[in-house]
């Protein structure tokens, strides 16, 4: 298929209910964001002194950034490990990653008490603070991803000079993305290392940083399968099942490595007994481990699963669910503080942000060379 026919096909793809729902949720979310800026956090959230961080941190920041790890993982697979056949997955994956980070940053504009002072992190440094490292990495990595995606725009507009320029630095950009991701994916874990007494021992660990890093890679790969299947149906562009199956075949090694780290740590610290307490946290632990990690390891090891688009999707969903549950446990369910359930405004701002990300992806697929390169 030539680029011309591709563009024509995208343009004729009709707008359906999907796009309409995305637009409505997005605008509703925007309205709620404005409401939050005008009336403050107390009036629009369920947050309180004993529960200062809620849904926006657990979902938009922690889970959102971890699930966007597919972007640097796919970049490493294609460019570092030189597995060229995954090239068609690269652009949609990096776009998803970029949108994930945009979502995190937009989430911060409502979560921060003084969002207009967000830029302070550029001038007031604290090298002791994990948040400082996370902030800088997110900022620079979002820029790196924007640059990695920019050829899409330049190709569409036939701007050959900037296209050449950006292509000449594509490898350093990819490397920078991998290094930055390693830094901040693990630093999100370092953050929670600082509250050893407030997180249930089944979740707190001195090795949270490497565990956050590895689980983000595993779940990020699941997320690639998950979202490319959804966008494949919605946008009538199916990624070959053979490719997704091959990717799925690597996931058990990553998640297996994660489980080894997690259990070894629990054994060495002596906290392993807590998983047999059969109280709330121990049940939560088993749900997370069995559904979110063991099940994907087992099912992705089966050739019958890896050859079937439908099964791949649902197993990948389990992997995404496992990561979500893990980050929610660390930052919310198993973290001491007042009982908390997000206010409806919090919920619909998060939903609105996802709708926004889907809407942008939707538009990019229609109007930019997202799935093919020249």
């Amino acid at each position: 298929m030539t680029a011309n026919t591709l563009v024509r096909r995208k343009n004729t793809l009709s707008f359906g209910w999907g796009t309409a729902i995305q637009a409505i949720l997005m605008l509703f979310g925007l309205g709620l964001m404005i409401n939050r800026w005008v009336f403050g956090l107390g009036a629009t959230t369920a947050l309180s002194d004993p529960r200062p961080w809620g849904l926006w941190i657990s979902f938009d920041i922690l889970a959102g950034i971890a699930l966007a790890a597919g972007a640097f993982t796919m970049a490493a697979i294609v460019y570092v490990f030189n597995v060229k056949e995954f090239h068609p997955l690269l652009r949609p994956t990096i776009l998803t990653g970029f949108l994930g980070y945009s979502l995190a940053i937009l989430g911060l504009t409502v979560d921060l008490g003084k969002p207009l002072d967000m830029w302070h992190m550029i001038i007031y440094w604290n090298v002791h603070a994990p948040l400082f490292e996370i902030g800088w990495c997110v900022m620079t990595y979002a820029t790196v991803m924007a640059l990695e995606l920019s050829p899409m725009l330049f190709e569409r507009l036939n701007w050959n000079v900037p296209l050449k320029l950006i292509r000449s630095i594509s490898i350093p950009l990819i490397f920078a993305g991998i290094v930055l991701s390693t830094m901040h994916q693990s630093s999100l874990g370092t953050l929670y290392v600082e509250v050893p007494d407030q997180i249930h021992p089944l979740w707190w660990s001195i090795i949270l940083p490497p565990m956050f890093y590895v689980s983000a890679i595993g779940a990020g790969m699941c997320m690639i399968i998950f979202e490319s299947t959804i966008s494949g149906y919605g946008l009538n562009h199916k990624i070959p099942v053979k490719l997704l199956g091959k990717l799925a075949g690597w996931i058990p090694y990553v998640l297996g490595f994660y489980l080894v780290m997690r259990f070894l740590d629990l054994i060495l610290t002596g906290d392993i007994g807590a998983m047999f307490a059969f109280d709330g946290p121990s049940i939560m632990f088993w749900v997370e481990i069995l559904l979110g990690y063991v099940a994907p390891i087992v099912f992705f090891s089966m050739p019958a699963v890896r050859k079937n688009r439908y099964r791949l999707f649902w197993v990948a969903f389990l992997g995404v669910f496992g990561l979500l549950l893990n980050r929610f446990n660390v930052s919310w369910f198993q973290l001491e503080g007042a009982p908390y359930f997000p206010a409806w405004q919090e919920l619909f701002i998060s939903i609105g942000l996802i709708a926004f990300a889907m809407f942008v992806f939707n538009m990019a697929a229609r109007f930019l060379p997202l799935f093919e390169e020249h």
């Binding site: 007494d197 001195i206 780290m261 973290l335």
Partner: protein
């Protein structure tokens, strides 16, 4: 100085990561560092406190804090620390004869987790001991509220442009050589201010001289690496709403995260090298100059 079980367990996991976490050793009891001995410090003796709340009033007056109103707009005593109450007196009562008052405020840690974790250094430790807050720098991320082992920082949730609020140890008064407002207001001598090294001695002598009066623990001497506020009491400290000593341990949380932060430059070099190495390894035998 002993390392309790939980601390030991926390550290034993460190070998797993293969990371240079050896910098926090069991011997790092910050409380006996000579610098901290010179810090401004206050000893609160709960067995002397009569719960008059003069300190609470003095604190509000000095810092111009509005009264805490109940839902009907009528003045009500705060039940715990709030954005507008930087210190409160709470009462623990088991039965009519067994009870104790307890004063709450920022503990002014020697190695504060809030300052270590603050993304913009809005919270910072001063030379003399107070942990201060610069609201102009603050971006409102509220990590300090979670990071604080004592849950001291509070937030102005009802404001459109909110700030973190907590006791500033009357650092302005201390600079002028005055006692903090609460100490100056205390009519019973339950609050005693001085240099930390001296107060440690005073407190330990009190426990030695009156073993029946006190639980045998000087709270704040070793907790989370030591605090500038020291507590003596006649009932267990967790009953007074303070975190159990063996729960929060004797190591500052800041000591746990710092090795990881120090490892960052190494990770950058290692990952860049790894990427470059693998890049050429997986292209061995390929003609150079061709890209994708």
């Amino acid at each position: 100085m002993t390392v309790d079980r939980r601390d030991f367990l926390k550290m034993s996991g460190a070998g797993l990561g293969g990371l240079a976490l050896s910098s926090f050793e069991s011997s790092n009891g910050a409380s006996h560092s000579p610098e901290a001995d010179e810090d401004h410090s206050v000893l609160y003796d709960a067995t002397i406190c009569v719960g008059c709340k003069a300190c609470q009033v003095a604190c509000k007056r000095r810092s111009n804090l509005p009264p805490d109103l109940d839902s009907e707009g009528i003045f009500d005593a705060p039940k715990g620390l709030t954005a507008d109450s930087w210190t409160v007196i709470e009462l623990y009562q088991e039965d009519p004869v067994t009870y104790s008052f307890v004063k709450k405020q920022c503990m002014h840690c020697i190695d504060p987790a809030c300052a270590s974790g603050c993304i913009v250094s809005a919270l910072y430790k001063t030379e003399d001991g107070p942990v201060l807050y610069d609201g102009d720098k603050c971006i409102g991320c509220r990590w300090c509220m979670t990071a604080c082992p004592f849950q001291v920082p509070k937030y102005q949730w009802d404001k459109t442009v909110p700030f973190v609020q907590k006791c500033d140890f009357c650092s302005d008064r201390q600079d002028e050589g005055l006692d903090t407002a609460c100490v100056a207001a205390c009519p019973t001598g339950a609050l005693l201010s001085g240099k930390r090294g001296e107060l440690l001695e005073v407190a330990e002598n009190r426990i030695k001289d009156f073993p029946d009066r006190y639980v045998n623990h000087l709270y704040g001497k070793d907790e989370v690496g030591g605090t500038s506020w020291l507590y003596l009491a006649g009932v267990a400290f967790d009953k007074l709403g303070l975190p159990k000593p063996d729960k929060i341990g004797t190591i500052s949380p800041a000591k746990l995260t710092w090795p990881y932060m120090m490892a960052v430059p190494g990770i950058v070099v290692f990952m860049t090298g790894l990427c470059t190495g693998l890049y050429y390894y997986f292209r061995r035998g390929e003609k150079t100059g061709e890209e994708a």
